[in-house]
Symmetry: C2
Subunit: 327 residues, 2 copies
């Protein structure tokens, strides 16, 4: 890490933004069935904790996904946001939703910002879908939103392709470009190099850079710290690391570490005691475990590890054989 | 991290040594009651996995600790080692035991190396006990052992005192000096600075440096990687991170990351499936959890978190109030 960045990080760096992605990445493990009480309490907790952005879920296409199979926050209709959270008119926290390239009817489903409680549209894309991502970005920008873009699964993408994607995003209206370690496969020194690359484009095109980590190798928090120390400002976390598979950077780790007094861990602890521990005890499963470590080490999509978990398998060696068999 | 060290780390760095501390740090959570079968299988696994050192437990004083209350590996009598593991005469792995300053009758209980299967004496000390540590170090060295020294709890020690301790160790016969984050309180950038300090003394006095991490903030593996990238060569891990409180750096994370082909994760996975998962299911408890995060953030000894865990408490907010109350 760079000495200069470090001291900024240990003190107060005003440019840092913490984003709570619990409902969105966490929603992937309970099909977005959060109670209204949970969502409202999370919103109030985030405000008290000084969290800067709260991601509510996906703007998923109802042509593709059935409202019978998924909860409210898979779709994030404005009326649901208004019903549960309210107008959010004081803007003590900004609200975000995610639009997945190819799985979002953004032209019809995303209103003008003036008519919506949402502030930030987060566009999620694979590197080979960039033109689709750019369409959503420009549409959202025209409608008045802040816009970020998550280039997913870069640990399996060609670095030269990632550079082309960064160039395209540089020339787009996007505000924030996220480093996303979808497979939890990257080590801190790789994050350092990737952060340097993203920050180079960020400086050239005046874009901010973000970090979204997964915990397959117990490195989600460490990789987020590494990126932060390197100069990355947008940091994603989730309560108790709730998220797909091994989960994400735990927001309590992050809030407990950041030195800006605007961040407070006390409301975070209260929320975890009252809502997250019972949620886990109700049978919702996520978090670091051996099967996720193995897909992380092998730089594979965690889907097989998620199945392994669902099936309550204990045959770790056989599973590893499956992951590494010659095809 | 430093670019030069990084590339060494991504390739093969012959000077790296991995030490398995499962029986010793893990023994703290089950009072050292491991079955002979477990210990024998662990020994064979470590050899197959390429682990360089295996720590068997403590050389604890039988004047202070009762053999009725603790299992075999609290005491590591040579005859028990010989009975369970054998002569270890091929030296495919080196065997280590820990001697705690003030709690070890080292003069009588540690034989000459020529008559013992043990290779390495690990001296554990607080910074204020250095003369006691030096006595054990010189005694062990005279008896023919490799000797290392763990200065514990440095996150609460005065840095100037740590420097004096390093100077004393520099002038002693010790071979390896360990950075020990007993409270799991340190962040990677602090480890980087501490590693620089230890390595400075290491270079001056021709001592090697080691890293022993705890996982209170989910940083045990990350801090071990950070130290390794900085040039620290002796790296401690335990199977499934088994160790006091939040546990240690998981050896499967470490072995899965190191690129030297002498390290192999396959036997590690086998051992975890056959022995570690059943051990955990039998009711032995360790590993990252909120209560350990809180003592880690607050740089406190984990003993209150261990009690919280034992008592099955769920009142996290009240516990945090207890940790932070004004005295």
């Amino acid at each position: 890490m760079k000495e200069k960045k470090l001291s900024e990080f240990m003190g107060v760096r005003e440019s840092i933004r913490v984003l709570d992605a619990t409902l969105r990445d966490g929603g992937l493990v309970n099909n977005f069935y959060f109670t209204d009480e949970f969502v409202k309490a999370l919103y109030e907790t985030n405000i008290k904790a000084g969290v800067d952005y709260m991601e509510l879920g996906y703007k998923a296409s109802k042509e593709i996904f059935s409202t019978d199979e998924f909860g409210t926050w898979k779709f994030c209709d404005d009326e649901d946001i208004l019903r549960v959270i309210g107008e959010n008119s004081e803007k003590k926290i900004k609200l975000a939703v995610m639009a997945d390239v190819g799985r979002c009817d953004y032209k019809t489903d995303i209103e003008d910002r003036a008519n919506s409680p949402v502030d930030l549209i987060r566009v999620a894309t694979y590197v080979h879908q960039m033109p689709g991502a750019i369409d959503i970005i420009e549409d959202a920008k025209k409608k008045g939103y802040e816009v970020s873009c998550n280039i997913m699964a870069i640990s399996t993408a060609q670095e030269s392709d990632v550079k082309v994607a960064l160039e395209m995003l540089g020339n787009s209206s996007v505000d924030v470009i996220y480093i996303v370690d979808s497979f939890g496969a990257l080590y801190p020194e790789q994050i350092a190099r990737i952060a340097d690359l993203y920050l180079e484009y960020g400086e050239k095109y005046n874009k901010q850079i973000g970090m979204h980590a997964h915990n397959n190798q117990q490195l989600a928090f460490a990789n987020t710290l590494e990126a932060c120390g390197d100069g990355v400002d947008f940091l994603d976390g989730t309560y108790n690391g709730m998220g797909r598979g091994a989960g994400n950077c735990s927001i309590e780790n992050l809030i407990g570490c950041l030195k800006n007094p605007k961040y407070s861990i006390y409301p975070v602890i209260k929320f975890i005691e009252k809502y997250m521990i019972p949620l886990r005890e109700s049978g919702v499963v996520w978090g670091y475990d051996m099967q996720y470590l193995l897909t992380g080490i092998l730089n594979q999509h965690p889907r097989t590890a998620i199945s392994y978990t669902k099936d309550n398998r204990k045959d770790l060696v056989k599973y590893y054989d499956e992951l590494t068999q010659q095809e």
